[in-house]
Symmetry: C2
Subunit: 274 residues, 2 copies
Amino acid sequence: MLYIVGLGLGDEKDITLKGLEAVRRCDKVYMEAYTSLLSFGLSSDGLSTLEELYGKEIVVADREMVEEKADRFLAEAREFDVAFLVVGDPFGATTHTDLVVRAKKIGIDVQVVHNASVMNAVGACGLQLYRYGETISIPFFTETWRPYSFYEKIKKNGNLGLHTLCLLDIRVKEPSFESLCRGKKQYEPPRFMTINTAIEQLLEVEEMCGESVYGEDTICVGMARLGSPDQKIVAGPMKQLLTFDFGAPLQCLVIAGETHPLEQEMLDFYRLKE
Amino acid sequence: MLYIVGLGLGDEKDITLKGLEAVRRCDKVYMEAYTSLLSFGLSSDGLSTLEELYGKEIVVADREMVEEKADRFLAEAREFDVAFLVVGDPFGATTHTDLVVRAKKIGIDVQVVHNASVMNAVGACGLQLYRYGETISIPFFTETWRPYSFYEKIKKNGNLGLHTLCLLDIRVKEPSFESLCRGKKQYEPPRFMTINTAIEQLLEVEEMCGESVYGEDTICVGMARLGSPDQKIVAGPMKQLLTFDFGAPLQCLVIAGETHPLEQEMLDFYRLKE
């Protein structure tokens, strides 16, 4: 049996009782370390906190391992109980859907333990979940790669009066360009996009496209470390959030569409006092 | 302190460790019983399972109590620690946002413990969460009340190639029409819309509007008891799901937009074998 267990968003105590029981039942426990990383997953100290709570040794599975060596660990799941731990909810990222498909194809039973993900926890800012349009991802711009397909999506959401959740780039264990050239893999240090960078890039794209889809005065909500005791939620115009220091990752951003009175009231709580 | 604790979707073991610790710390524990109900919340037996696990007496709070008597229990939260338990995630429903606003207005600290909700667990069907448009609600049609504003929204999502999550009506402790006429509140038995009824109503609206937004052959995914051990996920054209017996509530429906190969593969697992 393959258990895919969502760990939620904050810390080791966001696992559900059901998830904890599954992990404790398993012979082998893997933890994904590529789509996102919890603060407690970043250091070996953090990992030992988890291992202590779960009573199990945890093998950190990076992207390479899951994508290239999935067969090996699916083979293990055929023989005994294997848990695969995922930050947030198991279906927050495409990679885990792929894992489920591969397992089902070779007849391995899969059990999913759900948990909170950014896709629903974002409701904390007060903008109602059912009034969001398509979710977009904002990738780190490089000198030569500045994709902006998100612009059209924000426009379409905006035309319908809907909010847009912007997921910000996370780069963990990416091979460096130089190392690829040398044919030997070396990794860049992990990078997490800040709300500041996201807004900077958004404004750059708006300036280039010039369709006034949004601008400096567009109301947004920046959210950092959602679900943690020190989460930070700030609502305000882009130009204000552009320079606000949200602190440590992970961060995400919502571009508000049309807002109802109750949504307005919640946003007011999160506005910076002038 | 007011703790608003998400219970997740399946059963009593879907609470997080963080949520459980909060509940055990509280002097008074309320449980919402109006936006949705867990199978284990329906009977007094189910409630005692929860009470045993939490080591606390639970007061079931119906809609009336929360909307009309919120002041009383917010006053309690000023004096001591009060937990308010919510099926799914605290921000899945507008009512809980309202509660947060009211608490913050009178200076009561609020702590939210997130959990899975239908808004993210729906990812289990394989249609990627970031490719959903606006979520719609389908209300029970009556002889005189057949609102269909959802039609326009499905159309707009469809035009963008996006999937549409349809939340199906839940009627718990609704005063009966007759009792309102007599000026004395009596309640209708709880009703939960099935996928069958939802599709019947959807097709009726399509026939009336006639814009071919969807039809009998439109691929949908029906999901019952999401997150429970006996959850049922079936993908197929509307005409097939129209008569399929999904069993007990709660149920929801997704109308698929454009699908990617990986999404297709997942849907294939959930198709009925001919």
